[in-house]
Symmetry: C2
Subunit: 482 residues, 2 copies
Amino acid sequence: MRFRQIFRLIGILNFFLGLSMIAPLIVSLVYSDGSTFPILYSFVITSGSGIALFLLIKTNEYPSLSQREGMAIVTLGWLSAGFFGSLPFLFSGSIGTLTHAYFESISGFTTTGASILSNIESLPKGILFWRSLTQWMGGMGIIVLSIAILPFLGVGGMQLYKAEIPSPVVDKLQPRISETAKTLWKVYLFITLLEIGLLFVGGMPLFDSICHAFCTMPTGGFSTQSASIAQYNSAYFEGVITFFMILAGINFSLHFKFLKGDFKVFGKDPECRVFVSILAILILLVTFNIYGTTYHSIGNAFRHAAFQVTSIITTTGFVTGNYANWPGLSQIILLLCMFIGAMAGSTGGAIKVMRIILLVKHGYQEIFRLIHPHAVRSIKLGGKPVPAEVLNSIGGFFILYLSLFILAVIIMSSIGLDIVTSFASVAATIGNVGPGFGLVGPVKNYLSIPDLGKWVLIFCMLLGRLEIYTVIILLAPAYWRK
Amino acid sequence: MRFRQIFRLIGILNFFLGLSMIAPLIVSLVYSDGSTFPILYSFVITSGSGIALFLLIKTNEYPSLSQREGMAIVTLGWLSAGFFGSLPFLFSGSIGTLTHAYFESISGFTTTGASILSNIESLPKGILFWRSLTQWMGGMGIIVLSIAILPFLGVGGMQLYKAEIPSPVVDKLQPRISETAKTLWKVYLFITLLEIGLLFVGGMPLFDSICHAFCTMPTGGFSTQSASIAQYNSAYFEGVITFFMILAGINFSLHFKFLKGDFKVFGKDPECRVFVSILAILILLVTFNIYGTTYHSIGNAFRHAAFQVTSIITTTGFVTGNYANWPGLSQIILLLCMFIGAMAGSTGGAIKVMRIILLVKHGYQEIFRLIHPHAVRSIKLGGKPVPAEVLNSIGGFFILYLSLFILAVIIMSSIGLDIVTSFASVAATIGNVGPGFGLVGPVKNYLSIPDLGKWVLIFCMLLGRLEIYTVIILLAPAYWRK
């Protein structure tokens, strides 16, 4: 482990993170909302400490990073981003304690969208903008952004990229990783602009349009309204946001190929077909379940079912209805969605459809093996055999995800929370969803969770966003052994 | 698939099942409880239909059964045992409908212990004895019993044995499978007699001692009392039963080796060490959690924690305290126990400690592989490498267990049950535990579940007892393809 290089790179990362605060700074100036100086101080401290770290640690080599070093940089970089990202909240007085500010900041960067704030409309516009921007940057990856911008992160960039976007199947769009990162960010920016336009055209104020698009595309779920999207009660906005949540839940490589002219790419992709099918089936199930119980017209039932199922399965977490009051079946389906998640290579969290498909295929494979003990048949996806290492890695991921989930639930319940809240708060944070059930239900927030519990959930959000391995590996004794 | 042989063997099985009804017949005569004729009719119909099936289907060959045929015989044999086992309940009027009687019967044979009965003390003694006997026979396996008794089930016996006791690691105690089956049944009988003696010596009536031992050793959990073991409020009985529940949760091969003079066998076995450690840790956690909240002396807290954690993790399901009123942490631990289960090769249900150990090792293996990508290291248990096929099979089992669990929960909630009841009723039946939470909590029973839900749970009990593969394989299209 070359700690000098690691901390130097984190310094660079901090410098850029600080620069990104110029955007909310401008917003605060435009609205003269009183948050200008708090954001300015945050900018100076963040960028300044980044420069200091860069200058104080002298090294001339930019070696090709090892996978271990890549994982350390990404995990430490995210922890540090969580800290500096909380400064605007603290300095502006929007959030009173470091724990609360760190929670909100990590919830932003990890695109979870779990909030401790209750009167969101009253916050200064600059702070609201920063809150949305953390989600937008976190969605496609703050480190992937650096890779796109910084040319010298050549070979090492690949390790950072793999640590921050640890998809079960790596899809290199371009021969060079910095080009891949640039391409992904361009696609991301393009779709975000499209959503801003459509929301604005429908009558949403520009500021709110930008903030909501910034929180849709990373499947984040922060809103400028305490009541989330329910505030607008507009079928048009809900339709637009549902559509873009689905786009955000799709592998961005497919969007790139689509924009390149391969218009059949979504239908050809086996994971995409399964994702859309699951989405359709669950929306129909919930529609019929809430029709007649909670909503009295089938249209209304469908509207809320489509929005809420899409919002939860893509791990966005926007809310239009108090689903905690829906019948049991709908609640169980939404809970299940928190674990399934969207496609690999999307900005969504949780286990992801790709892994679910391969796990189910593995289960069926074992049944097949009992029926035909001597037949040799490998597991395939889209006609291509899946290597055993990938299957083992997915199996390991699934076991670790569940184990850490259970461990966190035990800790949450041992600090006195009820079963439903313990269960749902962990599911909603490790899955980067946001709202859960119980005390952290759709019309509530995370303020009532004790501070110790908030730190457990902060850890869960990070675990979920960096897909377990990148974070958990730092806790393995073998990692630190020479 | 040679259906003639399959149905002929099921006929033999029915004949023996009918013979076993002679025991409750004698009990009913001794107590002249009015259930003599109902049990006599059941005996005649069961054995008679068995003989009829045997005589009507003519075949001279007793071929070595294939694995597929073995699984078909075991699944169909259990379904048929569930039906004939329900006759005494129906004929005696103890249970009014076939659905309820089949539920109680399958719950007995699968050693689940979920009951639809509320006033258990009022039942005729003969019926109570039959109820306990179904558990005792189901625990070590009704088909394994046939293998032990019937000499001609030579080679085919192995396939039946593997289908009824599908342990992840087969432990052949004797060179011939019929000898292994005989040995296991002898050990089982010996420990059961020991428990009867200890309960009787402590002052429990002989009838109740026999019934409770018959339901402890198979980790069944039916009691002759509606209030279960809480009825006696005796630390001695609870201590004895706790001790024998632990024995029942241990691999019976270890008991055999112990009785053969290898007194260190429990400490040497890696799975046994983990099982006892988990048990100890969870008992301590629950003790401290319920001390001061539910129970006001540490001794009382420990007594109830030890009994209840042991009862649930061994999937027995006896009850001494209303754990549904315990604090959240204790409830979550008990819910977790419903999934963990006891050791492989024990009479307990659920996932089992052996599989949990290997799954966790698989998870850590993947972390290790990321740290040392080029190191070759196989997963070991007790110093011996575990073959990849065993690991794949365990992975498949785990995925199928969870998938079927989720599917059943969705069905239960779609028929209108609340989340907690849907969740707990499936966990408690697929894990062969018995009592759950919510409507099926420790001081309630399964009567309030709608009939459709009862059939779903009957399927879950069978899935759990035959460890998924044996049952689910019959539903795979590939199984029926030529």
